[in-house]
Symmetry: C2
Subunit: 320 residues, 2 copies
């Protein structure tokens, strides 16, 4: 760990912040060491995840919401996450020049993230970047995703408040609200509500929510907005603050943070278990030969595993 | 392992097959033992994954393709996989009554699978179910997914031949072909090709394929079909057979099988590493207390991990 980089980070240097995030995204030893030393400074920021189909106007909505929170004097970070790309490595990022007036605000930090590795990897990385931004001292972190697929859902789940954006006229409403989207929303936004069908979409969402066999204590509101004109944004910001108040009043936030720390412990132990076991297997003189025999089908992988890592118990992670 | 169940499976009893699949899906000790003892009988079946947006007519297309392969005398299994559900546990499966004429065919086996656990989990389960069907003696296994999200892509990747279905008139073609879909297709099908815009969609796909910076040796064809009328199905079946011939001629299939066996070895070792490490951690008398302290924020998870599972190396799976 470069102590100078961390010291600059702690003094509030935004270039140090940007470099640390890159280290964390790339999973470098520096990034890992930084996460470790920053951990105790995390747990203060509010995080808001925003997902919805392409063309729903998410970027404008995030812009407007950011502006609303800036009026409250809150320091903001915005992460734009794109879990998908037509070809590996060639992610098309959300148009980064978009938030021009926010980019000039010294208390707003904007960062784009593309999928570099596997699924799950990105949500894990997003969680780590959230911790860095949290430790840096941002009050609110907005996580905007590009689409609405399973990858996006995983990413948005990292946030404590999740907004699901819908729009009228995207065809079958039920189709648009699938892939576990309904479960994650703490508020639903029907954007472009000046288009025909906004009330129908709102009602569809309310109907589907009412079908939840396990209705949550927090009843997700449905807010109609026209982000390009700023209509409904104050109401949306109010609903987000209401969700924060709900989390605080019920000690849910406290409990969530505790659960998150335990989940972090489990993740750290898991990663170490994998690291140390693969180190042991790689160090075995017969590994290469056994691997070759498996490849050629001369022995089956279970036999090879019996020799390389004998273990009889349940073969899965079982930590609570 | 119930030896009677396995014996019935080996005699070709379809009810035993169905029960074994349930064991494998549920990850029971029986299921794991069965996978182990069946492993050597796998590697013969051809697998075809089919993905595409809802409403693209996948089910009808799978029906027709199955019928085409049945004419070749091939024994077929069809798996319908739905990685998404509006509420946890409440997966809406593909209409199972659909393939009535196939359901009456003793050499066709149809099974629906819903997401029960996490992402990645389903593709792993699909891979395991593929092995069971392969060992049972099916010549061709068709894997049909419900949608086109990241979950579906992961599932379809388990197959050696992947078909991506598109349809004219679903709006922005580029939007429809994202999420890594382009990379996985060995053939693209423009179904409902009697609708306006079919040629435009075909051209868009060909254009996007031509932009691939690393063009594969196998050039994925684009086939236009009208599945409801059977149009284009023979051509599609011909292209699938051509892909099989390509895999065989270039020894790609042989190489893929070798790589798959090595990947299986890695997965088995990984699962054992996690199982044995969590067993060790859970057996420690201080685990519950350390976990409690982490939950309350009294110590950070890294400190707790240092006590529970000290390890200094790179914390990730590193097997080639």
């Amino acid at each position: 760990m470069d102590p100078e980089l961390l010291a600059r980070f702690e003094r509030g240097d935004r270039r140090a912040l940007a470099r640390l995030i890159t280290h964390v995204e790339d999973g470098t030893p520096q990034g890992r060491a930084a996460l470790r030393s920053l951990y105790r400074a995390t747990g203060k920021a509010r995080s808001i995840g925003i997902t919805g189909p392409p063309g729903a106007g998410k970027s404008t909505l995030v812009d407007q919401l950011a502006a609303a929170f800036r009026k409250d004097g809150l320091k903001l970070a915005i992460i734009c996450v794109d879990p998908s790309s037509p070809f590996t490595g060639g992610a098309i990022l959300a148009d980064r020049v978009r938030m021009k007036h926010l980019q000039e605000d010294p208390d707003v930090f904007i960062r784009s993230m593309a999928s570099r590795g596997a699924l799950g990897g990105l949500s894990r990385t997003t969680g780590a970047v959230l911790k860095v931004l949290d430790a840096f001292g941002f009050d609110v972190i907005l996580i905007e995703t590009v689409g609405v697929g399973q990858g996006e859902v995983e990413v948005v789940r990292e946030a404590e408040t999740c907004l699901v954006i819908e729009v009228p006229g995207l065809g079958d409403g039920i189709q648009a609200i699938k892939a576990g989207i309904l479960e994650i929303g703490h508020a639903f936004v029907v954007n472009k509500a000046d288009n025909p069908g906004a009330d129908r979409v709102s009602e569809q969402i309310l109907t589907m929510l009412s079908l939840n066999p396990n209705p949550p204590e927090w009843q997700p509101p449905v807010v109609q907005t026209v982000a390009t004109r700023g209509t409904g944004i104050d109401e949306l910001a109010r609903q987000v603050r209401a969700h924060w108040a709900h989390l605080d009043a019920k000690s849910l936030r406290h409990r969530h943070l505790g659960q998150r720390r335990v989940a972090d412990l489990s993740d750290i132990l898991k990663a170490r278990a994998l690291g140390s076991a693969s180190q042991r297997v790689l160090a075995r003189p017969d590994f290469t030969e056994l691997r070759r025999q498996v490849e050629l089908g001369q022995i089956d992988p279970y036999e090879a595993a019996d020799r390389l890592l004998p273990f009889d118990g349940p073969d899965e992670w079982r930590l609570p």
